[in-house]
């Protein structure tokens, strides 16, 4: 028998698609969580890492594969696995104390015991004095402390954290992280292992003992990185920076990009990132200007623009897709076309953008072709939507169509009328 707290083997998760087929979300996931470890699941939006967390929590069952917790298969929310939520998930009609007591009440403990453990949890997490406050009276940081206290008082073996700091401002998030790490290192937390879902690369390096990198659509573990730095870790430590850089490289590497999303649009079923044309030209201009002169380090750019990796990657993806920039070894570099674009005036920019859009984004070229072939140059949105839905989830199809509409409008490649829900070649004159 293994000593692992949690053991995941050959896990696969699919969701039904509109056309009756299956959409693969997670594939071949292997994971082991051992005593005293914090394991980070790091990936972009759509990598299925939150889905994986919910499977571990027993909120859903995987399509295939096994999840074993202390030797028992997880088939329902297991006692001993508690979760901290991204949006806090506090009940607005319960006070801080009542929120913290909720999980204990569900355990059916005697009232005295419930009160004792809840107050101890509140004390531990630094919520003294707030017992009778309602969540709406608290700041975001205090709310998430309630979320932590609520999870800790049930004395779980495993704590699941679903991007717990991403809804907080930078300073508050950092305080909460350090407080948590301090309690964890001092052995004051009644937990044996932690799984942290995040898209924040620095957060993962700061907190985790092991980081699993996920690819997107479908989510697969592409890399496992051990973090051997001693706690407390220093973000400015060169070793820390190296690791961050290494992960940036891994997450933007072409080989890591699965065939259906990201850097190259091979066919119309590529999911397009949701990025506005303004943001694209903004990043191009920043790159072209001093001190970068056409080439920059991605982590540096991310910090400069106060963007998290998850916000920056879609922009860099889109630029790469349109061949306006290239990404290699964690650097982003303007292409010749990218330089021309930055130097051009508005009208010429649009022309360049149109050329790139129609040659590099098959969906845009497809829409344009269909419109040209039709006698009246008009086609309903549903025609393309149905086509996309055969290859991706409804939400992705909607988002992809929105992106291509926005880009098509900027490039004046085609027009879209929301009232009649039709694409056309006519722009209002």
């Amino acid at each position: 028998m293994s000593t692992a707290l949690l053991d995941i083997h050959a896990l696969r998760q699919t969701f039904p698609k509109a056309d009756g087929g299956d959409l693969l979300v997670l594939d071949g996931v292997e994971l082991e969580l051992n005593h005293g470890q914090i394991v980070g699941l790091l990936g972009r939006t759509g990598s299925g890492k939150s889905t994986l967390l919910r499977l571990i929590a027993g909120l859903a069952r995987p399509s295939d594969g096994t999840i074993t917790y202390l030797g028992q298969p997880v088939v329902a929310p297991a006692p001993g696995i508690a979760m901290v939520f991204q949006g806090f998930a506090l009940f607005p009609w319960l006070t801080v104390l009542e929120n913290v007591q909720l999980g204990l009440e569900a355990l059916g403990l005697p009232e005295v015991e419930i009160r004792k453990r809840a107050l101890a949890g509140i004390d531990l997490i630094g919520l003294d004095g707030y017992e009778s406050a309602y969540p709406r009276e608290l700041s975001g940081g205090m709310r998430q402390r309630v979320g932590f206290a609520r999870a800790l008082v049930v004395h779980p073996n495993i704590l699941l954290m679903d991007e717990p700091f991403s809804a907080l401002d930078v300073l508050t998030a950092e305080t909460l992280r350090t407080d948590f790490l301090e309690l964890w290192s001092d052995g004051k937390l009644p937990i044996k292992g932690v799984i942290l879902v995040t898209h924040n690369i620095e957060e993962a390096v700061l907190m985790c003992d092991r980081i699993l990198l996920f690819s997107s659509n479908p989510g697969r573990i592409i890399r496992e990185i051990a973090v051997d730095l001693k706690q407390p870790r220093n973000r400015l430590d060169p070793q820390f920076r190296d690791l961050v850089e290494k992960i940036y490289v891994a997450m933007t590497a072409r080989t890591a990009a699965p065939p259906r999303i990201g850097t190259v649009a091979t066919s119309i079923d590529t999911i397009l990132p949701r990025v506005s044309a303004n943001l694209l030209s903004g990043l191009l201009e920043t790159l072209a200007a001093e001190p970068y002169n056409g080439k920059a380090d991605l982590p540096v750019i991310a910090e400069l623009l106060h963007m998290e990796a998850d916000d920056l990657f879609p922009v860099s993806d889109a630029l790469q897709m349109l061949h306006l920039a290239e990404i290699e070894g964690g650097d982003i570099k303007l292409t010749e076309t990218g330089k021309q674009f930055v130097d051009a005036a508005t009208d010429d920019r649009k022309k360049i953008f149109q050329r790139q859009l129609l040659s590099d984004v098959p969906l845009a070229a497809h829409i344009r072709r269909v419109l040209q072939e039709r006698a009246n140059h008009v086609a309903p949105k549903s025609r393309f939507f149905d086509e996309l839905e055969d290859h991706m989830s409804t939400d992705d199809a909607e988002a992809t169509l929105r992106s291509v509409t926005a880009w098509g409008r900027y490039a004046e490649a085609f027009a879209y009328d929301d009232d009649s829900q039709t694409f056309s070649l006519e722009n209002p004159t």
Partner: protein, 575 residues
């Protein structure tokens, strides 16, 4: 807080499904069954020997208390219905397919039309006793309150935020516990608001259900409703005035000691706090909260309730099924079998009933009468729109006026049309008017206010920035109405107009026949038809009338209001 629109209007998914057909069949089947049962039971009943109602105003406090008690009992039943029916619909996918269309059809059935049927049915259960009549009245009030409450609760249950639902499962709350700790609190603000609307709306039906004649049976239960009926019969204008005053007082009392505290208390359950809104206050709640005595008295009760709510009825948590495409064959089969049998029985009932006594010419007549009533409603809604939209926008853009007008409009919405019979009838007599035209305004008397207070709500929701932009660009006059005010209030208007038109169909049953003492006027219409057949105790034709009226309501909801609603929501909803 917004009004609910009928499911078929707000509906997602397809325009008409086979489940709608089954729902229509079941409702019709039930009506026919009740009518058939009642028809056979009608004969042995004699007039109830109740204490006669008197017009002495000294009796009014007692009558008011009795009427209010009936409404409150009905409200308790409606809550029970809401918690069970809506929960089943929201939690069980199989049941949802039938229960939701069924609720939609039930919502469209004119309650005033089948009061007669249910009264006879309930009286037959307890023949010759007051209890039967009381049951019947309470049931009638229940039917006027329950549907929108159930629908509101169902919608709330479906929109419980995912993370909250996940948190309650992650912390292994039992279904019973998560119902009381998560679902009910989340639904509470919207539910309480619907309870208030239901309470206002049910006055109309109290008046109708406390004093009703079906064939040779006359039922008079002591209460404000029968007092009004007697006042009208005896042409006692002073008594009508007393009744109005009593109603006003009763509405004020339960608003102050029941609903205001409830609303203020339920504020903590609001999931999203609207910015800039002051939390509702209630002096009663403040007194209760601050009083030590009350605190001490309720302590043991609260503790008991708490323990009951967190009780774990079962200790095991059901294991989840794997995400599977095929449904559990056996349950599906059983369920399908039950629905099929029920639908077949209903079909048989309806078919037998149609072939028995209904001729094609009957159907044609009723359809024509329906068209007559429809044209009245269309004209009236159009008139109400022309009058109330400008006024509503004017009021809504002035917060202090809006605060004054909103409660008045809500009171007027509770006002039963019968109370204006004296004016209508004397007017028609005095000026020798055509009742076909001049009785019509009574139909929209109580329902037009829905348009007004929705417009007021819509206009006060126009963001200050948009209005400032209008001022800044000197957008004035007709341009201001066309580009700013009307688009901003359109979604609100549609919601109000849907409620108003639905309510007007119901009201037509009372409003197309007006009497004042011996003088009696009738308009040609489906409402008058149903009223006549009720007096005659002709159950077959009552059911025909009700069925056709429901059909009109459902068809208009789906073909006219639904597209308009979806369009307005998509294009003009702010924020």
């Amino acid at each position: 807080m917004r009004l609910n629109v009928p499911i078929s209007v707000a509906g997602w998914g397809r325009f008409f499904t086979r489940w709608d057909v089954i729902a229509i069949l079941l409702v019709l089947g039930l009506l026919v069954f009740l009518a058939e049962a009642s028809r056979h039971l009608l004969q042995p009943l004699s007039e109830l020997q109740l204490r006669p109602v008197s017009l002495d105003p000294a009796n009014l406090p007692e009558y008011a208390a009795r009427t209010t008690l009936r409404m409150l009992i009905a409200m308790a039943l409606s809550l029970l219905f809401t918690f069970t029916y809506a929960t089943l619909a929201a939690k069980n996918k199989q049941a949802e397919r039938l229960l939701v269309p069924l609720l939609d059809i039930l919502q469209s059935v004119p309650i005033l039309g089948f009061i007669s049927i249910t009264i006879v049915f309930f009286m037959a259960l307890a023949p010759g006793r007051v209890l039967g009549a009381e049951f019947a009245a309470i049931f009638a009030i229940f039917t006027s309150q329950a549907w929108n409450m159930a629908f509101s609760f169902y919608q709330s249950l479906r929109t419980v935020p995912t993370e909250l639902a996940e948190a309650s499962r992650n912390f292994r709350l039992s279904p019973w516990m998560s119902f009381w700790r998560v679902d009910v609190p989340f639904a509470m603000p919207q539910l309480i608001w619907n309870m208030m609307m239901s309470m206002s709306g049910s006055w109309f039906f109290v008046v109708a259900s406390e004093a009703i004649s079906v064939g040779n049976t006359t039922i008079t239960l002591p209460g404000v409703g029968s007092y009004i009926a007697l006042a009208i019969e005896q042409k006692n204008l002073a008594a009508v005035g007393y009744a109005i005053a009593t109603m006003l007082i009763v509405i004020l009392i339960y608003d102050q000691i029941l609903f205001r505290p409830l609303v203020a208390w339920a504020d903590r359950f609001r999931f999203e706090q609207e910015l800039g809104m002051l939390p509702p206050e209630s002096w009663v709640l403040n007194v209760l909260r601050r009083s030590r005595l009350v605190d001490r008295l309720t302590q043991p009760f609260a503790s008991l309730l708490r323990r009951l709510l967190i009780a774990r009825w079962s200790h095991s948590i059901e294991p989840l099924k794997r995400e599977a495409r095929t449904q559990h064959g056996w349950i599906t089969f059983q369920w399908a079998a039950i629905v099929t049998v029920l639908a077949a029985v209903a079909l048989w009932q309806v078919a037998r009933f149609i072939t028995q006594d209904i001729t094609m010419s009957d159907v044609a007549t009723v359809l024509l009468l329906g068209l007559a009533t429809l044209s009245r409603i269309v004209v009236l809604i159009a008139l109400a729109t022309v009058i109330w939209v400008p006024i509503g926008v004017w009021v809504g853009t002035r917060p202090h006026v809006a605060n004054l007008v909103q409660p008045i409009a809500q009171f007027l919405a509770a006002f039963p049309a019968n109370l204006l019979f004296p004016i209508a009838v004397s007017g028609i007599v005095a000026f020798k008017l055509n009742p076909n035209i001049w009785l019509s305004p009574l139909m929209i008397l109580g329902t037009q206010w829905y348009i007004l207070f929705n417009i007021v709500a819509g206009a006060s929701a126009i963001p200050a920035e948009l209005r400032a932009a209008g001022v800044n660009f000197r957008v004035r006059g007709w341009l201001w109405w066309r580009r700013i005010a009307l688009p901003a209030v359109l979604p609100f208007y549609v919601t109000g107009a849907i409620t108003a038109s639905g309510g007007s169909w119901n009201a037509s049953i009372v409003a197309e026949v007006a009497s004042w003492g011996n003088e009696r006027f009738e308009a040609q219409g489906l409402g008058a038809y149903i009223a006549q057949k009720t007096e005659a105790g002709d159950f077959h034709h009552i059911v025909l009338g009700i069925a056709v009226m429901s059909l009109f309501v459902v068809l208009i909801n789906r073909t006219f209001w639904r597209p308009l609603y979806l369009y307005a929501e998509r294009k003009f909803r702010l924020g």
